[in-house]
Symmetry: none
Subunit: 292 residues, 2 copies
DNA sequence: TCTAATTGATAACCCATAGTTATTAATTAT
DNA sequence: ATAATTAATAACTATGGGTTATCAATTAGA
């Protein structure tokens, strides 16, 4: 009775929810098992819900517990960020913006954005991390990221999306390939060659678009290799292991022995979008969003 | 030092931030002023930021403190909501019910059920997915599904089953077929025609029953096509690729050029059953089961 | 079928620390 | 000056989080 929920309870709950084992969770928390059991029991009484099902041999989460687990993970992330942000503000910085991006966005869009924001808000700090579409969405939702640069058509509820760059596609060939800017007409000319593509789990819309470019020309590409990094793809092309189709803007910033031939007369475009969470509480976010 | 932030600190901080007066805030919190002062000081040390400016006569928030005040108010709201939501889910008046179904159940049974449950528990959400009998049983057992609408005679141990609808069978013919409600007597009249049936792996009991209807009339149907979707079967019949035998209730909800003739004087019935797992822990399940 | 090992829950004790009272130092009002 | 405020300090108290010891229930192995 009369007890109060504390972050301690949340910490303990998360440990048990992850281990699904009281003794192991207690070990991880450097406390004794009975102490942990009692805290969890107290927590269940305070909340008024059964969080775990213990049947002497197995521990599992109830539906309510499953829900709480996700929420607490979010709450901890948010508190962590808030505390750090408070310390930063205290020291005169105006906070930190955490940005995730697909490798293909770092060439042009992000540097431009950073320069613009920095000019007007020199005290905002940035952290940049290359991540897949999927990981970025997850990180945005759980408040571990403020902005993501992705190639996606749809995002979950509560996440905003805005296209920031539309790019044509180019065919990437080894430097000594017989096709050049004069005799290149369409991709059907390489229909018999092997293709090196971005992995579909890295960016599925990307993968699908490239497949549709080929299908529109009446052939299905023979895919020999897949990779998540543009650099790797170029290396493979350079080594003669296949040809590739990538957004045209990727031709800048790499120093490789391949040639880019922009594919003419096709409707497909590589669209880069920014995503962020509608109710993100980072005060620095607004300063960045104005530039998008 | 090794101290840890707790919600207590947040509560105290908010009181001081609102009162801007340590003694009054302490009074409001029913604790003594020195205790409050010490907790706030500790909090500032943990976070690593000055939150208040005290100059012996006035207390005011720093910029960092101002930021933190807003965030903490939000965090408390979010925690409050989460805790209440968790209790609600535990009691079963919220949450999600995952339902799987054979295509033939979506016409009448499921909509009726959803309306009834929604009326008494508007906060329960549903997710619906069309699946084969086999996949539903698998999903129920592995706790990925709460209810399944199947046509099965037997289910594994631990899975409950209850019939919810008994239906007669109808012969499905192209609109211009010579048989009609007046001259149709029994299925032997179409014994020489080709049949379009549900795939046996989609619902084997279904398949067997249709075979037995024919066998009772002294012939074995020539099966030309099999499909898992009623829509597809009707299309095939409409195109003259065969006749079909399906549960009578399927005649509603499709807009196709076929005619249904209920088969008279046969014992076979298409039985639709609900299945669920005996020890399913989803508390919302009980609220739905009452309507079955 | 018995024993050994492992699980989480209970009970009783201990001690860290939140909260206490008493006091001080600094400021303002009279 | 003096009285009346303020928040901070110091020393003490006691709540309750964490401890050890043990139990009851279950499973694995002999």
């Amino acid at each position: 009775m009369g007890y109060q929920l504390e972050l301690r309870h949340f910490t303990y709950f998360l440990a048990v929810a992850e281990e699904l084992h009281f003794r192991k969770a207690a070990e991880r928390l450097f406390i004794s098992q009975p102490g942990l059991s009692r805290q969890i029991k107290q927590m269940e009484e305070i909340i008024g819900a059964e969080l775990f099902i213990r049947n002497k041999r197995n521990v599992s989460l109830t539906v309510a517990g499953e829900y709480l687990k996700n929420e607490i993970a979010y709450i901890f992330n948010h508190i962590d960020f808030t505390v750090k942000q408070t310390a930063l503000i205290d020291k005169g910085s105006e906070g930190e913006i955490r940005i995730g991006f697909l490798g293909s966005a770092i060439q042009t869009v992000i540097p431009e954005l950073l320069v613009k924001v920095d000019k007007e808000n020199p005290k905002i700090q940035f952290s940049l991390e290359e991540m897949s579409n999927y990981d970025q969405v997850k990180a945005i939702v759980s408040d571990q990221l403020d902005f993501g640069f992705v190639r996606l058509a749809r995002v979950p509820d509560g996440v905003c999306i805005k296209a920031v760059q539309t790019d044509t596609f180019s065919l990437v060939l080894p430097k000594d390939h017989q096709l050049d800017e004069y005799n290149f007409k369409n991709v059907a000319q390489v229909s018999s060659e092997h293709f090196v593509l971005f992995s579909s789990d890295y960016s599925s819309i990307y993968y699908d678009k490239i497949m549709s470019i080929c299908e529109d020309q009446g052939f299905t590409p023979i895919v020999s290799h897949k990779s998540v990094h543009a650099q790797t793809i170029f290396k493979l092309v350079e080594s003669g292991l296949g040809v590739a189709i990538v957004p045209t803007s990727l031709q800048y910033g790499f120093d490789l022995n391949v040639k880019f031939l922009e594919i003419p007369n096709i409707p497909q475009r590589a669209e880069l979008s920014v995503i962020w969470k509608e109710d993100n509480r980072n005060p620095a976010l607004e300063k960045v969003r104005r530039f998008l």
